[in-house]
């Protein structure tokens, strides 16, 4: 035992926490998948389950986003951040019991939050829909976790920090700041009129840009060199990329308010800053892809890396598309259309989740000493890839159709504009079924290495019955 490498010791110290967070994340992923299917089904048939108030479209749709971002996103962020930071600090994870305690509170808060939404206590502000009663529990549990993550980072052996650490730490710290700002502006010291909308829009979009995005970028900065065994190409650019995101992203997110009842300078700044975002996007994609394409065979062979590179490619493409769609001439067509769904799913699924899947597949075997069958991972990869691409294509083409037709005032709304995008809703429903299936495979893969016993138990029972 004394010959264990330091990495092994760290992995062992992270085992409990990582397993806890990633298995809860998996459950939330399934919950979100179920909601996603229900919502999509309701758009193809409005009478589907329409007699149940708690299953009405608006509630389901909102619950899906919340389960996805706070449930899956939050838990996955905790798991991956803790493990990567512990590895990079060469420090053991301490206070597991407090981390798990806080994690339980976080999950309970979200559970009650979602039940609150379904029970009719929704506020109607983007990503702040959960009833305010659960906000304190979310904040406190989050702060406990943040504190313990900082403890890991503070006890690092090497003073020098590198890109993955900046991105992940920044994300971990930005969330409570955003949350407090939103809380202050919505509840404690409520803003009047459309200032509320500016705030909630800013919060909702920043959550994706400043919380999910940097964690995924940080994980990619860690995993690509770790798996390929080579350094990041043009690494000196990473620091520029980091500060560009930090400085520009919080400004760029408000361009969605174009033309609305807010002072014109707000969306105008948003648009300019969105265009400036090409710099950090270019940096990240150069760093990732220049490194990965030096050894593309290895990328293909390693499933975790395949997930990660899919994610980073998706990040690059989606971000450039985001820039194009923030140009006023294009925004005029696509604003308020189902292109919004394209952006959301591209970011949280095509980019964030894919990288997290890669990180989990890389970390789990090291942490648990059990391999996940290659076939199962590969199945997950292909179903996810196919599902995501199908989903995004449907939302993209559907969104453009939606926008172009809506822009012709002579076309009646329901019987012409919305009728024409109905086929795309059908495709998304189909895509969500594939994705749900794919996510189920992921969760089974994860649970099987974390809790192998129930399965081996059942199998041994079967054998006995057979004998």
């Amino acid at each position: 035992m004394s010959t264990d490498s330091p990495d092994k010791i760290i992995d062992r110290s992270a085992k409990l926490v990582f397993s806890f967070f990633i298995s809860s994340a998996g459950l939330w992923l399934l919950v979100a998948a179920l909601f996603a299917y229900l919502a999509a089904a309701k758009l193809t048939d409005p009478f589907f389950l329409s007699t149940y108030e708690f299953l009405t479209y608006g509630k389901i749709k909102v619950s899906q986003a919340n389960a996805f971002v706070y449930g899956w996103g939050g838990n996955a962020i905790f798991a991956v951040s803790i493990w990567i930071l512990a590895r990079l600090s060469q420090a053991e994870v301490r206070g597991s019991i407090f981390l798990i305690f806080a994690g339980v509170i976080w999950n309970l808060a979200i559970t009650f939050g979602l039940l609150g939404i379904l029970d009719g206590h929704m506020s109607g502000h983007e990503m702040l829909e959960m009833p305010t009663e659960v906000w304190p529990a979310m904040l406190i549990s989050y702060l406990i976790i943040t504190f313990l993550i900082l403890v890991i980072h503070r006890s690092r052996q090497i003073r020098e920090t590198i890109a993955p650490q900046w991105f992940i730490l920044a994300a971990i710290l930005w969330f409570p700041a955003l949350f407090l700002i939103a809380w202050n502006g919505m509840e404690l010291n409520p803003a009047r009129g459309t200032v509320q909308t500016v705030l909630s829009m800013w919060y909702g979009q920043s959550l994706i840009w400043l919380w999910l995005t940097p964690v995924a970028l940080g994980a990619a900065y860690y995993l690509i060199p770790a798996i390929l065994g080579r350094t990041i190409d043009k690494y000196y650019l990473a620091i520029f990329g980091f500060w560009c995101i930090a400085a520009l992203a919080p400004w760029s997110v408000v361009h969605h308010l174009e033309g609305g009842p807010v002072p014109m300078w707000i969306p105008a700044i948003g648009t300019v800053m969105s265009i400036a975002m090409v710099f950090p996007i270019a940096v990240a994609s150069t760093n990732f892809h220049a490194t990965a394409f030096m050894d593309i065979g290895k990328v293909w062979d390693s499933l975790p890396l395949r997930f990660v590179i899919f994610g980073t490619l998706s990040y690059t493409v989606s971000s450039y598309i985001g820039v194009v769609f923030s140009l006023p001439t294009v925004a005029k067509i696509t604003q308020f259309t189902i292109i919004n769904e394209f952006h959301f799913n591209q970011r949280v699924y095509g980019f964030f989740s894919m990288i997290i899947f890669g990180a989990v597949y890389f970390a789990l075997p090291r942490i648990t000493n059990r391999e996940i069958p290659k076939g199962a991972k590969s199945f997950h990869f292909w179903t996810s890839t196919f599902g995501v691409l199908l989903l995004l294509l449907a939302y993209l083409i559907g969104g453009l159709t939606h926008g172009v037709l809506a822009g012709q005032p002579s076309l009646p709304w329901s019987s012409s504009v919305i009728q024409s995008i109905q086929p795309y809703f059908l495709i998304t429903k189909f895509a969500f079924v594939i994705l749900a299936f794919s996510q189920l495979v992921f969760v089974v893969n994860v649970w099987r290495v974390i809790f192998p016993n129930p399965i081996s138990f059942i199998e041994s029972c079967k054998k006995e019955a057979g004998a």
């Binding site: 749709k61 710290l173 005032p409």
Partner: protein, 373 residues
């Protein structure tokens, strides 16, 4: 980057600056707007007896806003009319003018929304829907708009056995069976809220928009006025018909958006009305398509068209007998056309003869040219 404290200061600084600009900046710029009069005195003050806008929601409407938020209507409906340069909202008849920040200052929860699977509702209260219509729409939108994706909310209603106890009767087109529904208090609140949604006042910073076409029309009308010597009743009917033809807001016919101001239509898409054998021909046909719309292949002056004209009017199919009579009289007497006037009584007769036809069920040319029963 190696010093954690400096790093933290750095990342909070970048976030903080953006927050200061947007949230604090926006708040101090317009966070304390208050209701004001449509027109200010010369010195910029509000006259003492002036009516102030926007007006506060009634208590029941405020409770309705909560229902609206809690049912997630905002996931499909916006409540903002965009500026003309950035969107088509005014053209679509969703408002008399773009929305401005002041419109929202009295709302506790502002529900602008950012997704439009359904139409904008900022001015729903101006669309002249009756409470009964709205109740039926909330109960089962598809009973009014067959293609609707708006989710039914039957849980806000109780179905009763007797017509006398109910507020709304919903007739099933297929088997002519009736259902009687009675709204719960929550449905009443929601309808009160929906009816209260209107930005029908001008403010110092914004006035109603008149589309360019309307200006053009006025010019044309004034020329036309002088050149015709029709009897006054006919001229009145033509003038009112023209209004219907040109109006692209609730209660209008919006015909010009397809058939154009000059009645020439658009090649390959919208048939002309000027000189059209349809317009100058049978009134019965004209009345029918003005109520129910027209689809499928049609030949106008020897040219084939194959397109769809949804039931005209905003909302679709809502033109009254009088409006139909006027607009038809108008199109039969402009652009060089000259044919007899159509009276509201004639329209009423046709309407009665079509009793039982499903609303919104468009006619086809073939159906119309088959011998009249």
């Amino acid at each position: 980057m190696n010093n954690l404290a400096k790093f933290i200061v750095g990342i909070f600084l970048t976030l903080g600056i953006a927050w200061l600009a947007f949230v604090v900046g926006a708040r101090s710029q317009y966070g304390d707007l208050s209701p004001t009069a449509s027109v200010l005195e010369d010195d910029g003050t509000v006259a003492e007896d002036a009516e102030l806008f926007p007006i506060a929601l009634s208590g029941i409407a405020q409770q309705g806003a909560k229902e609206y938020a809690s049912l997630g209507c905002v996931t499909c409906h916006t409540q903002q009319v965009r500026r003309v340069e950035t969107g088509f909202d005014v053209e679509r008849g969703w408002g008399l003018r773009p929305s401005v920040p002041r419109d929202y200052v009295l709302q506790k929860h502002v529900l602008l929304g950012n997704s439009r699977i359904g139409p904008d509702l900022a001015n729903l209260g101006l669309r002249d829907y009756s409470d009964e219509w709205l109740h039926q729409h909330i109960f089962e939108p598809q009973s009014l708009v067959p293609s609707s994706l708006c989710p039914p909310s039957p849980f806000l209603y109780t179905e009763v056995g007797e017509e006398s106890e109910s507020l709304v009767t919903i007739t099933n087109e297929e088997d002519a069976s009736d259902r009687y529904i009675k709204p719960t208090i929550r449905a009443d609140r929601l309808v009160a809220y929906l009816q209260s949604l209107k930005q029908d006042y001008e403010l110092p910073e914004i006035s109603f928009l008149k589309s360019e076409e309307e200006d053009e029309v006025e010019a044309v009308v004034s020329v036309a006025d002088k050149s015709t010597d029709a009897p006054k009743w006919l001229q009145d009917q033509i003038d009112q018909g023209k209004e219907v033809y040109m109006k692209a807001a609730t209660g209008g016919g919006m015909c010009f958006t397809c058939h154009q101001v000059n009645g020439e239509g658009l090649v390959g898409q919208f048939p002309p009305l000027a000189g059209s054998d349809w317009v100058l021909g049978s009134k019965d046909r004209l009345i029918k398509i003005s109520m129910y719309g027209l689809m499928g292949e049609i030949e106008v002056n020897g040219v084939k068209y194959n397109n769809v004209m949804a039931p005209p009017g905003i909302p679709p199919g809502s033109l009254t007998d009088e409006q139909i009579a006027n607009v038809l009289t108008y199109i039969r007497n402009d652009w060089g056309n000259s044919a007899s006037a159509v009276s509201p009584e004639e329209v009423a007769t046709v309407r009665a003869s079509l009793k039982g036809r499903a609303p919104m069920q468009m006619f086809t040319a073939a159906e119309l040219s088959s011998p009249v029963q």
